[in-house]
């Protein structure tokens, strides 16, 4: 265990042998999987504890409703300066409508909460919290390599692997996935995501630190220069962005043509 943690630490500080050691292991893929999975689960621990505590509170729905209403008020206060053109009466009407809908939702939630179930409610809430926590590393990521999440490690990884090979890389699939899994280590900072402001800053730091580790992992596993490895890591995202821009432009042009033709 201590050797494993040392490997993770060495990876986080860009120590070459940590990457080459993982790259050369016969079970490199399994090791990489364990790194991403364990870090993903550790990062989710505060959320799990929070969900269990919130779920076991006697007036969970009331507490949730108060929290949602105060968050809504905060969002409205923050948005007011940006809604300068909107008459305040209209804005108040919209807010009142949203709040009415929220109250309607919570009213139903309260009734559902009171309905009988076969399994005692606290056990079900603990199950829900555990299910949500265990699912996190298997879920999706909004951004490439945006967390200790298996789908982005594998999904983005296959494209980087392809580009690295096209750029002259000689790495194996398992070695590549083993070495690049170290990108997940800085994401352990996501453990503090619940801390206001600091959580966001640490998340931002973890992303770029993880990205740099990923480039190093690609470089070591494929025996590529850092510049080529950086290119292999960035090209899939850049090409996807380019395709998205071209598709959006094409779609907008088509819509404009069809609208002008309809006149």
């Amino acid at each position: 265990m201590s050797a494993w943690i040392r490997t993770l630490w060495n990876g986080a500080i860009f120590h070459g042998p940590a990457f080459s050691g993982l790259n050369e292991r016969r079970d490199a893929f399994l090791q990489g999987l364990l790194i991403v999975l364990v870090i993903g689960l550790v990062v989710g621990l505060p959320g799990l504890i929070g969900d269990v505590v919130a779920g076991l509170r006697p007036n969970a729905v009331e507490a949730e409703m108060d929290k949602a209403m105060s968050e809504m008020d905060q969002v409205v206060q923050q948005m007011r300066p940006f809604l300068g053109n909107m008459p305040s009466g209209t804005l108040d009407e919209i807010i009142a409508q949203i709040k009415e809908n929220m109250r309607f939702g919570f009213d139903i939630a309260r009734k559902v909460e009171a309905m009988p179930t076969i399994l005692p409610k606290p056990i079900d809430r603990v199950f829900q919290a555990i299910g949500k926590w265990a699912s996190k590393p298997f879920g999706g990521s909004g951004f490439p390599l945006g967390g200790a999440i298996l789908s982005t490690w594998l999904g983005y990884g296959i494209w980087v692997m392809l580009f690295a090979r096209l750029l002259g890389g000689r790495g194996t699939l398992t070695g590549f996935f083993g070495a690049t899994a170290l990108y997940a280590v800085p994401h352990v900072l996501g453990f503090f995501a619940f801390v206001p402001v600091l959580g966001g800053i640490l998340g931002f730091l973890a992303y770029f630190w993880g990205l740099a580790i990923y480039v190093k992992g690609t470089s070591v596993s494929h025996q590529l220069s850092i510049e080529r490895a950086l290119l292999a890591v960035l090209l899939p995202a850049l090409i996807a962005l380019l395709v998205a821009i071209i598709s959006a432009t094409g779609l907008a042009t088509l819509i404009a043509i069809s609208m002008s033709g309809a006149r």
């Binding site: 893929f29 999987l33 009415e100 309607f104 139903i108 179930t117 999706g140 789908s151 392809l162 398992t174």
Partner: protein, 242 residues
Amino acid sequence: MGNRTLSLGLVLRALFLDNDAYDQLRDDDNPFIEGLFLVIIIGAVTALLNLIGQLLAWAGTPSMSAIKDAVWQAFPTMQWWSQMAGNATAMAQFKQYYDMGWQIFPALFGAPDPASAAANIVLWPLAAVLSWLLYGTLAHLFARMLGGAGRYSQTLGALSLSFTPFLLRGLGFLPYFTVGAVMNTWQLICRYKAIRSAGQLSWGRAVWATLLPFLVYLVFWVVVGVIGGLGLTAAISAMQGR
């Protein structure tokens, strides 16, 4: 009776992308039968484990019809309700959509459904076998075109190991556990490994043989879409012409 190559160790080694596991099943005396057995077993066992999770989640959830009634009874508290309540036609239409919605949305939002989970014990192996045969046939054809050396049964045998990531579904014994896109990406990587092993292809050719079947799927669905669209247009114009 031939030699049995399949074992839990082999399955786990294939899951973690060990080349030898794919080569071993490829070189079996009857890779097709071993592959068929594996694909069915993975489908059935994971569906059974998933059923446990669904049953536990179902036991912790109130009855769907009771929730449906509670929502319906809460509507009169909304402002718009009084406006709609005066119009019998609008009310009937609303009730119809409401009932229809309750048939569709609970399943879409992952409401526990032990009946569907039980049906999956048959459906998952069946779907897996169909997908295995269809993809395997196309991948074998492309691998041969690209210079692959493997026999059809060898391709299918090795490709059966690409269903090992579906073992993740077995974690569904935990209620409320969900697996995202990771399973399909992982399967794609295993498919590449299997095709490369069965056809003894270079990495570049193996990538093409892995991806080209998806191009066939895409072309098929585009053709179906175009034919369907044309048929619909013709039907609408025929109805307007009457």
